[in-house]
Symmetry: C2
Subunit: 399 residues, 2 copies
């Protein structure tokens, strides 16, 4: 287990003002509300919930989500699964393809370890070669137990997976012919649709996905194989998969923190009212009459899905109206280590040297992957108290 440095432990119980910048800060109250909203939503729709841990990469958060009703966790990398398992997470699904025989030996070992403690490993496949290599690796361990294998469909992402239809039937049969693999169902995630901006576009995209997935499921059943579970979905489209009657499990993870990219989606009224719960605390370190410069650049937040937005502002150097004014600021790319803050209008308000700036990351997953720790705050970003230091246990876990 990674240790937490003393200078972070010393923040516990202290005011949010004492957090040095730039830092990744969780609004724990907002996060708890998001978890409750998701738990209520999945209960109402009688759908299982296996959130994607590639977002937070934290065992503590994974276990918190299980307490709220999550039945396990998705990961994208084997090493994420290994690290979470080492921290007590028992049900893990690698929703991705693995081909390297050295990694597949680790998959087999992890499947055996989880099975021995009453957990379960699952994995996705999209090729006959992948299925054969996986089965071979599992036959080499003593008691692999059951490994759940999902056949991945490409339902619009244009990345991994086979097309819906006969290709998936052939792979399902190949899985069933390779004990100890267990054909568990279909992986069907349309990642791009999460960020289609209008509700109508998202509804239409997922309606087509559901049609294709249903057709594929029926073909596999007709071929004599039960399809136990169809799994997928994300925060942008979950209302559609949840209501479909076809998807049995939601993988959405981003609801936990939300981000500036999701905030750009037109909100569907049926969507739970998830809030921003992850912020970058930053400080103005240079200022002139045209712009201010803060100490957070793209080594502190990922910008591939858009720049961060400015949330609100506190700190001793600010005017009373600062919180309102801050939301007019425009964050511009200042490189690896800086952000440039432009006023909302010519001659408009700019924060003074030393001011605190709170940023909403453009995309939470790769932002969290830049940090070894997140700082959990209770009681709000202004006046709140540091309650926890959350380790990003699987930060940098790529293999």
């Amino acid at each position: 287990m990674k240790s937490i440095p003393d200078h972070l432990l010393q923040l516990l119980g202290k005011s949010v003002d004492q957090i040095e910048t730039p830092a990744l800060v969780i609004d724990l109250d907002a996060m708890d509300r998001n978890i409750q909203r998701m738990a209520d939503f999945t209960r109402k729709h009688r759908v299982r919930w296996r959130p994607h841990a590639k977002l937070h990469k934290s065992a503590d958060i994974a276990l918190l989500l299980e307490q709220a009703g999550a039945i396990g966790h998705c990961v994208q990398k084997l090493s994420e699964a290994e690290i979470l398992a080492a921290h007590g997470v028992n049900n893990l699904y690698i929703s991705n393809e693995i081909i390297a025989p050295t990694k597949l030996r680790r998959v087999a070992q992890l499947a055996q370890d989880l099975d021995a403690r009453g957990g379960r490993l699952a994995i996705a496949v999209d090729s006959e070669v992948g299925i054969e290599l996986l089965a071979r690796a599992l036959r080499e361990v003593t008691s692999p137990g059951i490994i759940d294998v999902f056949v991945e469909l490409d339902v619009g992402q244009g990345r991994c997976g086979v097309p819906p239809g006969e290709a998936a039937v052939a792979l399902a049969q190949a899985v069933a012919e390779h004990p100890p693999l267990r054909f568990a169902g279909l992986q069907a995630y349309h990642g791009r649709a999460q960020h289609f901006r209008t509700g109508a576009e998202r509804r239409q995209a997922i309606a087509q996905v559901i049609e294709e997935v249903t057709h594929t499921r029926d073909l596999i059943v007709a071929a004599g194989l039960p399809v136990h579970l169809i799994t997928g979905s994300g925060t942008g489209t979950l209302i559609h998969e949840a209501a479909s009657g076809v998807y049995g499990e939601l993988q959405a993870g981003s609801f936990l923190f939300m981000d500036a990219d999701y905030a750009r989606n037109e909100r569907d009224p049926a969507q739970p009212a998830f809030e921003h719960a992850l912020f970058i605390k930053s400080q103005v370190t240079s200022a002139n009459d045209k712009h201010a410069v803060c100490d957070a650049g793209h080594k502190s937040h990922a910008i591939e899905s858009g720049l961060p937005t400015v949330h609100s502002l506190n700190g001793e150097s600010n005017e009373a109206e600062a919180a309102d004014e801050a939301s007019t600021l425009r964050f511009a790319n200042g490189g690896d280590e800086h952000g440039i803050l432009h006023p909302g209008s010519t001659g408009g308000w700019l924060p003074a040297l030393g001011s605190t700036i709170w940023l909403i990351p453009g995309h939470c997953d790769p932002t969290i992957n830049l940090h070894d720790h997140m700082i959990g705050v209770r009681g709000g970003l202004e006046g709140g108290t540091v309650e926890s230091i959350v380790r990003v246990d699987a930060r940098g876990a790529l293999r």
Copy 2:
């Protein structure tokens, strides 16, 4: 000191084929040639060389560069300086502004520690407030020694720094009036000009910088203060600052590894022939008749300055002509964990499942910051041997 995990130590002496993917790999032969070229260049131009460690964040590489002639290292963050100092680096320059009093206390402590062991800390300023806060913090330690303070000019980056001219004179005087600060000279770096694509644009931009810097230097000297050093420059423009007779020091760091973004610059004949020396080893994990998918996405390489390019290819699953064919592949964004490889032409060659793909990162600095270790290979990417595991000591050092 961060420990190196066993599975990486076990790679030492092994074939490059055994490196699991995705991994950040240094071609040590190419890196050594780049260092030699830079050392020769700076000797020829009789200019000091203080490369930016924000690129590599590694104490071992910093010490290697000192052996080759570097007189110290620039960093962008205090915590980078602290970490490199803890690993034996003695001459450090924080080429950036610091405002937070808690951090300035750490600056003062580090200045004292480096001075006590015969080293030196330097820092940049761009405001009277910053100068006063820095001086106050230094007066609170017992024996701060000398701290070199550079006044930062904005010479076209449009970020930190004061305009060339009278504003800089006022700051130089403010530094001189605040012992134990020592006015050391001017920080003048035009970051954007590094990537102006034509040699003519870069020459023109730096000619103007040199004019402004010279004018500012002359004003400060006329006001009675010596300007010991003008420091700045990067890999894209270093031939101009080196030949200027005005700049006494080059901060270029990227020459060490180069990247796809620098490769897009028109090469100036006077520029040393720096080579790509940093690569992402990746594997094809999914493939169909339209594209192949590899296991490196933007959690393994930064894409804010452009996507990676495909370098060459090896591995057991490849055809003999693969190395040539690979260079026709087009890497497309596949999200956090995947890259999508499109053929160079309709129906063109695509790598098979399991193939190795070598990528050249779009931008090295933030790519390295995603990794805890780099794997040093001797003897080439095809058939070479793992010689070293290089710790990215200051990975994630943001504060």
